[in-house]
Amino acid sequence: MTAASAVSAAGFLTKEMRKQIEEITGRYPTRRSAIMPSLFLAQEKYGYLSDEVLLEVAGVLDVPEIWVYEVATFYTMFNTEPVGRFHIKLCTNVSCLLLEAGSLLSHLERQLGVMCGETTEDGFFTLSVVECLGSCDTAPMMQINETYYENLSAEEIDQILEGLKAQADDDARTVEPGDGGQEGAPA
């Protein structure tokens, strides 16, 4: 038994995910081409790609572990470390720079109490800077998880952060079923 197949028995990839990966491999003449889509699938579920997940993907695709590892570490969108529930990606490339994305970065760092590249203690927010996201006519802009926020100002950023915190608090109250019907009720 190889190391990869031993780990795959631990089961990070659900039956449904394995089925999806098999479907994906059908799109390409080689199983290697399915590495990137499989990593996206795993990251969607776990938020980041642990070594265990990488080994299991290699096992399912039946490709050498190094092939998966080199892809996971080359592409910046694959997180090999855990990230917060809301991953803030502020564009600082030229069009955003010209409209003072730099001061928005300082503002975000102040409001969140973390430096760029760090995650808040409560695990809600990770702050990153990214290269151009193709929204230059609405600069300055940022992406949080998948959503674009455009034409930003410091005040708007404060409102967005408050909205996300409120959403996280609401969700925290609704995740526990059977707590006397208090779902979504004000604290």
Binding site: W67, T92, C132, G134, E146
Partner: protein
């Protein structure tokens, strides 16, 4: 007012759906081609139109298609390059979000011309809305019989799959895109062999940009002569221009190829903001060297911009006004290229990091005598000495900034501070 071609549906409700596309004449080009054209005739039509690739390099599209071997025993591939990552560029995103069927129909036509039965859309990973719209549009096209087996009851078949990139700018380079699609790190290959001979999975492959493919159905429907009648003689057709930076009306503008840059910036995008003057303009994404204000009368086509030692590139036009600092801007550009260098060639990998160190020093008021000469030397060492155009673009842009705005650089060294910040 100029007739809109590529953006003609952009403002209609549900413009991304197949209903809106068909209502505006969509997929009629496909029916016409399958009925009336042999593959070679379609290639000739695209050659006659004079269409040049809108991804940046400006290579003649029909000629590129004609390089694919005709041997029916060889499997061929089409890749749509939707890895739009050139800073200052957001035109392909607009097509994919607002009118994706235009590009899909262009892909089916291209696949027919080159004999490909499998095609991939390599889309940058951050464009999640575009990817969703494409997936939905592909499903609609399959349901209507425009994709899959025996398209419109012909003996032509095609499958198209969406493949998401994951944040590497270099994958916009066609051989790096192919490497990435094969499941590897995105590192460019040495050319030749060119992809048309040996590309994806070592098979003949055409890689075309989103906007390029979106032009093709219009060429079929309205003819090569109509297409040649728009824009300049050597670079015909409609063009999407992305305006950003210090202008009053940033946005996406569809205008003919060859429009003067000054007209684009001052009339269409409203010119500089109140009380400011334009200092420089980047005409084609950050790989294209900036032009000082005095050079704005240049026409926006491949040949005119090349003649002034810059390029049309992706037509990502970034305007910089007199209140900002050229050293700050070029520092950010070289930081970008240093970050996105794939690491394969040492002139690019090492040279750009070295240049960033010097540029940051200048901007922080810690510049030393000899720093500018060292930058000149680095540009020479990188340009022309790398596998792909990433290192070239970086060194070219830096060299031209150093030439056009030498005084500003010198002032950073002499005053030991940035005069602007």
């Amino acid at each position: 007012m100029t007739e809109k071609v590529l953006l003609k549906n952009a403002e209609t409700p549900d413009s991304h759906g197949i209903g809106a596309y068909e209502a505006s004449g969509g997929y009629q080009a496909l029916a016409t081609v399958l009925r009336d054209y042999q593959p070679d005739e379609l290639i000739e039509l695209v050659k006659d139109s004079g269409l040049k690739g809108r991804g940046g390099a400006g290579f003649a599209t029909g000629v590129k298609w004609s390089f694919v071997p005709k041997d029916p025993a060889l499997k061929k591939y089409l890749c749509c390059n939707a890895d739009e990552g050139e800073p200052g560029t957001f035109k392909d995103r607009a097509i994919m979000e607002k009118d994706p069927h235009q590009m899909i129909e262009g892909m089916i036509l291209c696949a027919y011309a080159i004999g490909a039965e499998t095609a991939y859309i390599y889309i940058r990973g951050e464009y999640t809305l575009s990817a969703k719209r494409l997936e939905a549009a592909l499903k609609e096209a399959y349901d209507k019989g425009y994709l899959g087996q025996r398209i419109l009851s012909s003996d032509v078949s095609l499958d198209i799959y969406v493949h998401r990139g994951a944040g590497a700018y270099i994958c916009g380079e066609e051989t790096a895109l192919i490497e990435s699609l094969e499941g590897r790190r995105g590192q460019p290959r040495l050319k030749p062999p060119f992809p048309a001979i040996e590309g994806l999975y070592a098979s003949p492959t055409v890689v075309n940009n989103v906007e390029t493919l979106a032009c093709v159905p219009h060429i079929v429907t309205r003819g090569a002569e109509w297409f040649r009648g728009i824009g300049s003689e050597s670079s015909p057709g409609p063009k999407l221009y992305c305006l950003s930076g210090h202008v009053r009306k940033p946005g996406l503008y569809e205008l003919p190829m060859g429009i003067p840059l000054r007209e684009l910036v001052e009339e269409h995008a409203g010119g500089a903001r109140p009380g400011r003057k334009i200092k420089a303009v980047i005409p084609g994404g950050v790989s294209a060297p900036m032009i000082p204000e005095t050079g704005l009368d240049v026409r926006m086509d491949f040949e005119s911009l090349a003649a002034t030692d810059t390029m049309l590139g992706s037509a990502g036009v970034i305007v910089i006004d007199d209140n900002d600092c050229i050293v700050r801007v070029i520092t950010r550009i070289i930081e970008f290229f240093a970050h996105e260098s794939c690491g394969k060639c040492s002139p690019c990998r090492e040279g750009l990091i070295w240049a960033v160190k010097i540029l940051r020093r200048l901007e922080n008021g810690e510049g030393k005598e000899g720093d500018l000469e060292q930058l000149d030397f680095l540009c020479e060492g990188i340009f022309g000495n790398t596998f792909c155009a990433l290192g070239d673009g970086a060194a070219w842009g830096l060299r031209r900034a150093l030439q056009h705005f030498r005084d500003e650089f010198v002032s950073h060294v002499e005053k030991k501070e940035c005069p602007f910040h």
